[in-house]
Symmetry: C2
Subunit: 372 residues, 2 copies
């Protein structure tokens, strides 16, 4: 770190996203099909000639294909998991070929409600079908195969990304060496469903929603912003709120005016900036897909984990109340019952659910060792 | 309990609310004044000639003056704390004269945004001023004095009601013998503020809100319903959601339709029924008053608790994440530092914050003993 040149040499070269287009009809788990799909992705590092070093990093609800690096040196932020993905980092791009992709149903380049339906020539919008995380994973597999990879060294992800890693384990156990599941459990809990339900109600009750059939720029921006404000609360912890904001107020109001709280201003900013980068129909489709996620029956039936299936690293975050560590422990119990090679790591943090996005030395070391 | 007649004889006689009208101007803590006020109240039991047996039971956010009993035998529900208030119950109406009143700023009969401003002849609506819990307590004191009581045997309440009990202790320590504080702490936490902030945003962004200047029946009913749905989540616990709803779905939807969850249906019902009994401007005023609540500085300065002030019973509920038991423990630490006669009782429950509204044998016994 003392030699800026050496450090610069350790940075990722600027990534560039690409689009994979599949023109084959894509059947959906809940019925119907998409006439084809586009998947936007980025890769980091080099695929070995035998294609044995590929790692898929699956994003959470509002993430995308841009996992690491900066497109340009003056980008304000790098990719969403740059703390863990890069040369010499936990997911070491000197050794691994890392794939990031925007999920099916998303709004950052992959086929989703904003995409044009080739059958009509108009965007899907409110007509975009219901999808599942199983569909999202099946679409990922199309891209992985397109890249010449028939076996993944690992699938790693946090939150919804962790659920996808579990689905790779459930649906394609012979095609994955190991899964890293951070801040997720065997199913979406009833309270997490309740929170998503209210977040969706904010969108659906915005007069701009129009059953999903809104025009670009005329959508339910206010409802989506408030829905995101609510979701954002669930990503933090009480201790994080204490530390970040306390009871601080935005200066300038008169005594008889309503108080404007710093935390209020922060959440409003988060809501407003989310609206600029996310589509309401995508938010509805993806949160509904997450709510449907439930592998408890498969875990109980012995068809999720198998002794000769992928190894597991489960990572819990001590102050996460959206996907609490108790859910990771249930995951471990199911893996242990099946004789899977599994390990649990707990990050002690006040950051709440969002902890999986933040740098943590212990997690880096553990994840790096797990990936071998 | 084996003799229905004897049991019937132990029921409260049907209560009847009354209105106390004060025509004196009522100055407000944040500036300005109300030209007068009406306070709707109920009483249970009989005041002793020396007026020494009065207990004030303060309600939470959405409660009211109807604390116990049924107005008519076929009422669907009794008052909101009937489990604890009545003949032979924890707050024993055979011995105590119990006062319940709708808080200032409320919408159940006491002066609030729905009331007519005598200066204009029109409802206050969006012009109703900002109030504090200190104002609410000062209005309570007017009524208490009107009833001939200059010293309260106790003030008891849960959640916002507990905050009011603490304010009686802070502001009128010589006029209260003991305070029972359930499911509340020394201040509104930043995360609780965050939740209220989003709940208010739901209301304020409803086009029907019009800055609070809506006509009866044309208010922000959708936003208020969603805001209440969110609040309701914070009153329960993850375990309660598991037990009450699990991942059950409302039957009848086709596979490709969005799932309608039982928990979603329940929350929507809660939201819709709340709109029928609550006013949006009241919701904003009262939640903002709660958010302003902060006695930490006074506790630190030694002006909240005093050794010769009211005794304290603090009651925490193990699964309450809105006002977690850690906040009750901080309350106890502050009381202990001041030499107050104080005791802590914890109810082990999966019910979350709403636990203080539910029957609990241990709490009944403890509260009864505390009231002496």
């Amino acid at each position: 770190m003392s030699d800026p040149k050496a450090q610069a040499a350790r940075e990722l070269p600027p990534p560039a996203f690409q689009d994979f287009v599949s023109e084959a009809p894509f059947p959906l788990e809940l019925g119907g099909e998409l006439p084809g799909l586009t998947l936007r992705y980025e890769t980091y590092g080099t695929l070995l000639p035998d294609a044995s070093n590929a790692i898929l990093v699956a994003h959470a609800l509002s993430g995308d294909h841009h996992v690491a690096g900066k497109y340009a040196p003056d980008d304000r932020k790098p990719g969403w998991w740059d703390h863990y993905v890069g040369p010499g980092k936990a997911v070491d791009t000197d050794r691994f070929f890392v794939i990031g992709m925007n999920c099916l149903g998303g709004c950052r380049g992959s086929t989703g409600p904003l995409s044009v339906d080739p059958r009509t020539g108009a965007p899907y919008g409110g007509f975009f079908p219901e999808i599942t995380l199983g569909d999202i994973v099946r679409a990922q597999r199309l891209l992985v195969r397109h890249l010449g990879v028939s076996w993944l060294h690992a699938v790693v992800g946090g939150s919804m990304g962790g659920m996808q890693a579990l689905l790779w384990c459930a649906d394609y156990p012979a095609e994955v060496g190991r899964i890293g599941v951070l801040a997720a459990g065997l199913s979406q809990s009833p309270m997490a469903i309740a929170l998503n339900t209210v977040s969706r109600a904010c969108v659906e009750r915005d007069p701009g929603y129009r059953g999903g059939h809104y025009l670009p720029g005329e959508g339910p921006s206010s409802g989506l912003a408030v829905g995101r404000m609510l979701a954002h609360i669930s990503y933090l912890s009480s201790a994080a709120f204490d530390q970040k904001f306390g009871r601080a107020v935005v200066p300038g109001s008169r005594p008889g005016d309503p108080v404007r709280w710093q935390v209020e201003s922060y959440l409003e900013h988060q809501g407003a900036s989310f609206v600029r980068r996310f589509d309401a129909n995508s938010w509805l489709r993806i949160t509904r897909a997450v709510d449907r996620f439930d592998l408890t029956a498969r875990a109980a039936a012995g068809t999720l984990f198998k002794a000769d299936g992928p190894e597991l690293l489960a990572v819990g975050f001590s102050s996460d109340w959206l996907y609490p560590t108790s859910e990771l422990r249930m995951l471990m119990a199911a893996a242990a019952a099946a004789g899977v090679n599994a390990a649990y790591h707990e990050v002690v943090t006040d950051a709440g659910h969002d902890g999986f996005l933040l740098p943590d030395k212990g997690l880096s070391v553990r994840l790096n060792a797990f990936l071998g």
